[in-house]
């Protein structure tokens, strides 16, 4: 463990491939070693400085044009090398994916968002990751590439625990894709921290689809309350197919707060997290419902 954060003491070999193929070959060559992909480095370099994470080979993917794109033609596709700040400036993200927009905006500060990537945020697999709840709520999936082939995995299934994902040593994520949002859908993100730039005590995203006065589909995803961001599935099932009212929203908020299993840590306590989860779910389902164009009766 290094306590001097002024330097990076550990030694490693560095690569900056210019094509995707080159990057995949490097990953394949060094799959049996401690090899890591470097994108923004805002999490990785901190870990290299402050933990005993050992790296032999570092592959910088930021110079690969194939990973540096945002495609808004149908749904939303974002390459692995795109910095977070470039995503928040896309008009469609603000309009059609407000929960993702709000999640990104809530992260750290502009310098960190100019460096860090959305795919990096997923791969870091922190339970407090601010893009993950909205990505799960939108049903986003990542595309994994390797010399062996490719596969697609839902973000919901990709992260398995604290810092744990299903990515193999020779794989890299090329892009993340979000489905096209329906007209009558609404979504929102919210987070509690002491100050804005903080790591979340708790964060939450809601995405729902409206049909008249009925809620056709709804996803409620909470972060920082378990080993990974989790869906409040019992609460979701209470609202699906129902006429949405204030009393129903109060009921599902209570249910959602009973479903989560938060812990006491330096950032917050179990009691606080449980209570604030109820308040936040109530507020956010209401906002998402109103954004979908729905009216609210008592």
């Amino acid at each position: 463990m290094q306590s001097n954060t002024k330097i990076l003491a550990q030694e490693f070999e560095y690569f900056a491939p210019k094509t995707l193929d080159e990057a995949l070959s490097l990953l394949d060559n060094y799959k049996d070693k401690n090899t890591k992909i470097l994108a923004g480095g805002t999490d990785l370099l901190v870990k290299m400085k402050t933990t005993d994470l050992k790296i032999d080979y570092l592959i910088n993917i930021k110079n690969i044009p194939e990973l540096n794109f945002i495609d808004t033609a149908f749904g939303l596709k974002i390459g692995a090398a795109v910095p977070l700040s470039h995503i928040e400036r896309v008009e469609k993200v603000k309009e059609r994916y407000p929960a993702l927009y709000e999640g990104i905006k809530s992260m750290a500060a502009i310098a960190v968002r100019n460096m860090g990537t959305i795919v990096g945020n997923i791969c870091n697999a922190s339970p407090a990751a601010d893009t993950v709840p909205s990505l799960i709520a939108y049903g986003a999936e990542v595309k994994l590439l390797s010399k062996r082939g490719e596969r697609a995995v839902l973000v919901e299934d990709f992260i398995t625990g604290v810092g744990k994902t299903v990515i193999e040593k020779d794989e890299l994520i090329s892009r993340i894709s979000l489905p096209e949002m329906k007209k009558n859908s609404g979504s929102a993100f919210s987070k509690k921290g002491r100050v804005k730039a903080d790591i979340a005590k708790i964060n939450l995203a809601v995405c729902l689809e409206r049909e008249g006065n009925l809620c056709k589909d709804c996803r409620i995803v909470l972060g920082s309350v378990a080993e990974k961001a989790i869906r409040a599935k019992k609460a979701e099932s209470l609202i699906k197919g129902q006429t949405v009212s204030i009393s129903l929203i109060e009921k599902i908020a209570k249910k959602a707060s009973e479903e989560i299993k938060p812990i006491d840590d330096i950032r917050s306590s179990l009691t606080y997290r449980t209570e604030i989860a109820r308040v936040m779910v109530e507020e956010l389902v209401r906002i998402a419902w109103e954004r979908s164009g729905g009216e609210l009766k008592p």
Partner: protein, 157 residues
Amino acid sequence: MKKLVIEFTINQQKRRLFVKPNDLLINIIRNDLFLTGSKYSCGIGECGACTVLLDGEPVLSCLTLAATVDGKEITTIEGLAKGNELHPMQISFLKNAAVQCGFCTPSMILTATALLKENPNPTEDEIRDYIRGNICRCTGYVQIVKAIKSCAIEQNS
């Protein structure tokens, strides 16, 4: 550890350097190029004191490997003034007494110039939000926000 050759532009000057893969940009800027305006403080991306502009965008030089700036353009606080003529943001910081110990000032000014490029007429809330990653521990933020606001007003008039 094998050294790498990197070429980049810093404050409009082309540079060619040999760096180690684990060299941090902040140390190259301060120790090799003697540009000591950028400060090392927390080293983990919390304080913003090491902020430099990379292709015009604020980034943290303490979390950037020097090897990764190959082919890029960097601006540090030393590159803002044109000869003896200070940048309008620097003048505004002086006029509004937005400097006390000066440690956060280079990063604060660089971040502020990036803000005005992105949003030429920011509200007070937008200013405070944009500089939230740049921590000042002496003046408080009132004069800093005022300096950025008045620089924007002056630029727009």
